[in-house]
Symmetry: C2
Subunit: 308 residues, 2 copies
Amino acid sequence: MDINAEIGKLDWSHEPKGLYEPIGYTLAAGGKRVRPRLAILAAQLFGGKVEDVLPAALALEVFHNFTLLHDDVMDKATVRRGRPTVHVKWNENTAILSGDQMMIEAYKLLSQVPEKKLAKTLRLFNKMATEICEGQQYDVDFESRDDVTIPEYMEMIRLKTSVLLATALQIGAYIGYANDEQQKKIYEYGIHVGLAFQIQDDMLDCYGDEATFGKAIGGDIAENKKTYLWLTAAAKGAKDELAMRIESREERFKRVMAVYKRLRVKAAAQKEIAKQTDAALACLEDLPKNEYTKQLRDLARKLAERSK
Amino acid sequence: MDINAEIGKLDWSHEPKGLYEPIGYTLAAGGKRVRPRLAILAAQLFGGKVEDVLPAALALEVFHNFTLLHDDVMDKATVRRGRPTVHVKWNENTAILSGDQMMIEAYKLLSQVPEKKLAKTLRLFNKMATEICEGQQYDVDFESRDDVTIPEYMEMIRLKTSVLLATALQIGAYIGYANDEQQKKIYEYGIHVGLAFQIQDDMLDCYGDEATFGKAIGGDIAENKKTYLWLTAAAKGAKDELAMRIESREERFKRVMAVYKRLRVKAAAQKEIAKQTDAALACLEDLPKNEYTKQLRDLARKLAERSK
């Protein structure tokens, strides 16, 4: 299954162009297509058919890209995957309306899943979509709060990042005839993998290699963003130090990194990543042992060690 | 069925408040609840049960209010139903994200329709949602075009206004066990009623009474908006006259109204409303004759004569 080819088959060339061109532009930007791949893999794991899960897999990818499009408007981000964002290339209203249409397109794809699987798939999808919006809202709320705890942060990234991976896996498993217990396990695997992924992302922003990571290092520190590292240092009493106003981006980066070093923040994050990775791997124990579970095991290990 | 009471039962008091409060605020603003009423009435017309169609009826109302919320952001509208719009009362990002969540809430309500009716209801809903976005895009496109024709305008308002009314009726009829031919007729009725409604709206902006209509008269003329009246005058050769730049809103209104009078634009619009109303009434001929079809007949006649 060439997922990029399947995405490429979706036709965005019709009228009105102002509505559909930005959707084609967004989906053509690439990315790792992790979510549709996970949905398909989960179906295969339980002996399901790829063609049965494909519409839902595409729906998940389109929905994911819709969230990026609207997030970029809200964050005023100017670049996504090396290209101007939609609201920069077109304008903000186009980004809002084409984003809305992208969400509808996701539901149109979803409506093509086998009819007897539709009701539950729709419910799982709706729950996931709601949780992503809630995660986004908490992320916004955290910006203006100075008492965010690590458990609150974990819950926020669970909503914002993990549930989409977990739901992709569960929908794939459900359409592939996994039973309820198996769906639950693969969903939990997705939650833990997502948490490990996000904390690793926080790490890479500080300790990554710019050339390998593919984006500038230190962005979170420059914005004083409440990442896992920031919150760990804050919990160890460094809140005032982290809040210091330093004009120079380089100087600020150096000072914050020194705080992180002194408080062994990196080790704490690595420990949490290892914990989440172990929890993810444990979820796989109760699932059938085959080449697809092996891929999920490899994925969990790789994410914990990734440098990009 | 007290539709306002049913909308009032939807709970928006949970966390995160920044996401859900604007949804509750939007839905509490009232309005005529035409779409859910039409869905329920259509189900009753064919002997269907109100409780079967209620989730879809609520989904239609929530979706309609979502479109208003995002349209207000795009139009930079500051007032809706006598209250500050969401992006004014909160901010633009809140309006975008809570709007997104409102669309998801519509799909959550939709997922509650009887399971064997779900697949087709979802497809009808998705088609309608897509067409509304397309209509909105054409409306935007028309602003920067000076060669818009009346048929193009009719197609735009069909998409932007009529399909939601028509789909509300069809979904109600479908869930209420109408056959395909009957669904088609009631859908067409909705299309014609919607067109009549929108042209009447264009008329009221010029010829309405402010106190009765409930909003300021002349807004379309002040913005040089391409309404049915504008396009009719333009088609009769008045394009340059309509494009004239006049600073004073009052003076501009007077001059444009004089053009409309000279070219008998009002009569042309009235003729089109009568034509659409007759077409709507003709659609009802092939449906069962009962108190509900009588209500639809009255509605079509009332819309054509309404002053608010």
